[in-house]
C-alpha cells in the first residue's frame, strides 16, 4: 500500500516471494510442553497434554538502491521477519502467536514518495496472539489482540523513537470463518484498533503560549479510533482458478480533530471518516506441469473514503469543502513462473491506479486553485527472481519501476509528478 492504498493479501502459499517450504511437526517432551503452557497458554493447561507446534517463519534480507527522478540514493537494506509458533492443542483449540517486523533502509516504489524525503529509515514491529476455536461443522471462531509500533527516521535530525510520525497500534478483534474445503472459505471479521502518534502534537496547540493558538485545537489531532468490518473468502473458479473477494468497511474517528469551516475557523464538531474497500483477485493456472508451472492473476480494487472534514488553505485564503474524500480504482496483474523440482521463480507484477478526489481542487504551479478536482495516477511494474540454494533458502533479485502523475501542478510542498526505481538483491528464508 503506498498512497494507492490497496492491500496485498498474504496468501497462505505465497506471502513473500519465497516458498515457505515444509513445516515440521514437533512433538514436545512433557517438560517443554509444560513450560510452553506456563509461558504462553496458561489459561488452557489441559490442552498442554497434546500440543503440537508448527513453526511458520519467513525472513528476507535485501540490499539495493533507490532512484528518484534519476537521482540515486545511497545503498540501503531491507529486512523482514515473521515468525509464529502455531500451537494446536486439540481439534478444537489452537493459538497463533505472531511476531512480524521490518526494517527499511531504502525506499521501494510503493512507499510514500511524494512527501519528499530522499533519506528514509524505518522499522516496525508487531506482536499478536489469536485464539482459534474450531467446530466440527467447519466453522471457526477466533479472537485476536496485539500491539504494534512503527519507528521512522525520515530526516537527518530524527533519531529512533523520536520520529515525528512514529506510531503505535493497539488492536483486537473477533472473526468467524467457515472453511469447507482446502482453499475455500468465507470469513467475517470485526476489528477495533487505535493508532497513536506519540511524538506528534499539533503546532497550533503549542502556540497558546505565544497568544497565537486557536480555541478547539487539540494536541493529538492525528490519533484515530477505528472500527473495521471485513467480509472475505476464497472460492473456486472454472478452469481450476480461484477467486478471493474482499469487502471491508472502516469507521475512523478523530477524537481530537475538529472540523474547519468556510471562515477558516474550527467548529465544535469532530472529524469522522468512512472507508469502503472492495478487492477481487482471480488466479488461474495457465500452464501446469510437474516442473514447470505458470500462474496468472488479475486483481481489481476499489476504495472509497468519505470524510466530513474540510480544508482551509490560509496561505491562499481558500476554503476547500470535502477535501479528503476520494475514490481509487486499481488493476493489477501478476504472473508467476516456477521451474524445477525445487523451483526457481520469476514473478512479474504490473499495477495501475487512479485516485480521484471528490472535492479537492487542483492548483497550478504557483498554488492558485482551479476548478477541476485533483486526480493522481500511479503505475508500477516489478520483476522478482528467486533461486533455491538450500532447504528454505533462496537468493532473490527484484527490480521495480514506478510512475506518479497528476493534474495538480503545485509541487512546492508535495511532488505529484515523479518516477522512481529500485533494485534489490539478497536472500530469503522460509520454514
Amino acid at each position: 500500500v503506498k498512497k494507492r492504498f490497496h492491500f496485498r493479501r498474504h496468501r497462505e502459499e505465497g506471502a513473500g516471494s519465497a516458498r515457505r517450504g515444509d513445516l515440521r511437526r514437533l512433538r514436545l517432551p512433557r517438560s517443554l510442553r509444560t513450560l510452553a503452557m506456563t509461558a504462553g497458554v496458561g489459561l488452557f493447561p489441559t490442552f498442554a497434554k497434546a500440543v503440537e507446534i508448527k513453526p511458520v517463519v519467513n525472513a528476507q534480507l535485501l540490499g539495493g538502491q533507490y532512484f528518484y527522478n534519476d537521482a540515486n540514493n545511497a545503498f540501503g537494506a531491507l529486512a523482514s521477519l515473521s515468525a509464529s509458533p502455531y500451537m494446536k492443542f486439540n481439534d478444537e483449540w489452537s493459538l497463533v502467536p505472531l511476531y512480524s517486523g521490518n526494517y527499511r533502509g531504502t525506499k521501494q516504489v510503493t512507499d510514500l514518495v511524494g512527501g519528499g524525503t530522499l533519506f528514509q529509515d524505518s522499522q516496525d514491529h508487531t506482536i499478536s496472539t489469536k485464539l482459534v476455536r474450531s467446530f466440527s461443522n467447519d466453522w471457526k471462531l477466533k479472537g485476536v489482540a496485539g500491539y504494534g509500533a512503527e519507528l521512522l527516521r525520515e530526516t537527518k535530525d530524527e533519531a529512533w523513537g523520536k520520529g515525528l510520525y512514529d506510531n503505535r497500534k493497539i488492536f483486537g478483534g473477533v472473526e468467524a470463518e467457515r472453511d469447507w474445503a482446502k482453499d475455500q472459505y468465507l470469513r467475517a471479521a470485526y476489528d477495533y484498533y487505535q493508532i497513536h502518534f506519540p511524538n506528534y502534537t499539533s503546532l497550533s496547540s503549542q502556540a497558546d503560549n505565544s497568544g497565537l493558538g486557536r480555541e478547539l485545537d487539540e494536541p493529538d489531532a492525528l490519533n484515530t479510533k477505528n472500527h473495521s468490518m471485513t467480509l472475505s473468502g476464497q472460492i473456486a473458479l472454472p478452469a481450476n482458478g480461484r477467486l478471493e473477494p474482499t469487502y471491508s468497511y472502516t469507521r475512523r474517528s478523530y477524537d481530537n480533530q475538529f472540523l474547519v469551516n468556510n471562515a477558516g475557523a474550527l467548529v465544535n464538531e469532530l472529524r469522522h471518516d468512512s472507508i469502503h474497500s472492495i478487492a477481487l483477485q482471480g488466479t488461474w493456472p495457465v500452464w501446469v506441469e510437474s516442473e514447470r508451472r505458470l500462474f496468472g492473476g488479475l486483481t481489481y480494487g476499489w476504495t472509497g473514503l468519505f470524510s466530513n472534514q474540510n480544508h482551509y488553505d490560509a496561505n491562499q485564503v481558500f476554503y476547500n469543502a470535502n477535501y479528503y474524500a476520494y475514490k481509487t480504482n486499481s488493476m493489477q496483474t501478476d504472473w508467476t513462473l516456477l521451474v524445477g523440482e525445487d523451483p526457481w521463480m520469476l514473478r512479474f507484477t504490473a499495477n495501475i491506479a487512479r485516485q480521484k478526489y471528490a472535492g479537492r481542487r487542483v492548483q497550478d504551479a504557483t498554488g492558485v486553485y482551479g476548478t477541476d478536482v485533483t486526480h493522481v495516477d500511479s503505475a508500477y511494474v516489478s520483476w522478482t527472481f528467486s533461486y533455491p540454494i538450500a532447504k528454505g533458502f533462496h537468493v532473490m533479485a527484484t527490480a521495480s519501476l514506478g510512475w506518479d502523475d497528476s493534474n495538480n501542478q503545485y509541487n512546492a510542498v508535495y511532488q505529484y509528478h515523479y518516477h522512481t526505481g529500485t533494485y534489490l538483491l539478497g536472500f530469503s528464508y522460509a520454514y
Binding site: 530526516t155 516456477l338 492558485v368
Partner: protein, 538 residues
Amino acid sequence: MAVRGALALAVLACVTAFGIAAPATVQRVSGVVERRAPGMLEWQAVSPGDKIDEGSTIRTQANASAELRTPRGHQFQLRANTSLELTSIQDDETKTRLESGRVVSKVKHLKGEERFLIQTPTAVCAVRGTEFETSSSDHGTTVAVYKGIVGVSAMGSGAEMALTAGQMVNVHDGTIEIPHPIPPQSKNAADSALARTARHEVGLDMTRNEVMAAAAQEQRLAEYQEGKSLIDVEGKRVRLDEYILRPRPDTYKFVVLNQRDTRFDYFYYQGTFNKNLPTDLSVALRNLPGTVGTAPDYYLTGYETGQSNTQDSVHDTATGGHLVKIVSDGQGNYVLSDPADPTNTHTVAAATLQTDGTYKLYNPLTDSYTIATAAQKDAVSKLSVYIPENDSYRDLAPTDTAWRTRFNTYTHQLDNVTKIAYSQSGLTNVLATNLDASYTYAGGFVLPVTKTDPLTLDTTITNYYGDGTFEMYRTVFIDDLGKIAPQSAFEGLSTGASFKNELLKWNYEQQVSASEFHGRKIDLVVEPKIFIKSGLIQ
C-alpha cells in the same frame, strides 16, 4: 488428534490382457540411490542403465533423485527421501507402492485394458494417460495431476474420485478431501492440513497488520500533501502550520508556525481593515496588495507583524493606513494623490539621472527608491501589480491607475528595541515617505549591504546601524526537499511579475540574526505568498 478409519484398497479402471514381466531401466541418478531385489535384505547402489526387476524396491537418500523407465515407456521421477516398490511391470499392468516420499509419474497412453496404479499406505491412484505427482508421508497422501485424469481412492474405501489436470487432493485417515487447484509454489510433501492451517492463520494476521500500517501511512500522506512537513535548507524536518484567526470583525491574523527538533519559530501578520470583513476573507485580502483601475473596497488602516523564536523577536507596526491614488502623467512622472483630501498631491519623477551616471528610480507601488545603471534602468523600472482575477502578477502599464495603502506611522523593533521608525511630518496623510514623513534610525543611520550567491537564490541583506548594531536577513528559496533554487530557474529575472510568479513555485526560508539576539536566530520556512502580498518580499 483422533485417527479415523481403517485403510483399504480401492481399484480402478483397467485391463485384461495378460502381459510379460520385464525390468525397468534406470535413466538417471543423482546422489545416493539404492535398490533391493525381491526377497533380499541388502541394498545395492544403482547406476544409470541398471535394470530393476519386478518386485524390487528403489530408494533415494536426502538430496538424491532418480528416473526410471518401464518397457512400456512409463516414467517415474523419484524425489529425495523416496521409497518405491515396483510391484508389477507388465505390458498390461504397471503397479507400484510408494511407501514414502514423492514420485512424479509420466504415463504413456494406456492401451485397451492396461492399468497403471500407484498405491500408498493411505491411497490408491489409478491412471488414464497422464502426468501426476504422488507424495506420501505420516500425514497422508497428496496427489497433484498435471495432465490427463487420475482416479484416487482412499484405502478401505470403494469410492473413487476422478482428479483432472490442474487439481490436487489430500488423502488421509481414510478420507479424501475436496480437490482444489494446484497452487503456485506448492510443495506437496508433508504439506499437512495442520501446516496449511498455520500458514492460513498467519497470512490473515499479516493482512490485518498491512491494513493498519496503510491507515497510519494515509494519515502521514495527508500531512505531506497539505505541506505540513517540509525539509529545510539544512536537511532537517520543519513542521509548518498556517491558519487564520479573527480577533475582531475588522481584523484578521495570519499565523505561521514552524517547529524543528529543538526549536519553535513563528510569524504572524495581523491586519485591521477599514470595515468589517466578510466570511470569505479572500474577497478582502485580494485587495491587500492594492488594486489597478478602481479603488479597493477593503484596505488596511493598520498592521502588525511579528517573527520570533519564542525568545527573540522582530516586530513591525504601522498605523494611519489610507489609500493613495497613483497615475503616470505620461512625462516620466508619477502623480500621487489622497482621495480623501484632493489638495494633498505629489508629483515624483520616475527616474532621476545622478551625477555619477546612475539613475535613481522611484517605485510608487512600494514607495521606495532603487539605484540602477543605464543598462539596468529599463528592467528595474518594470513594476509588477497583482491581478486578483487570476491570482497572479503583471507589469504595470503607463495608462494604469494604481491604488496603494500608505501608513502615517511605522516602527521596526528587534527585541523591543526600535531600530527604524517614521511618522508623518505634517497634518496630511503620507503619500511618499521621503516627502511626508520623518525617519529615525538607531544611531542615526542605517546602511544596507546585500550579498547574493552567484549560483543559487540565496541572498543575505545586512542592515548596519549607526549605533554599531546590525540585523541580518538570509533568504533562500527551496523546494520541498530543502534544495535551494538555482539562479537558472529564474532565467535572469530579478524583479517584475515574472520574478514573483516564479517565486510562488518555491518555499521561502528566512533566517534572521541580529546583535540583540546574541548568536541566536529566527528561522522560518513558509510558502511565500503572504510575504509578497504584505510587501515583505518586494
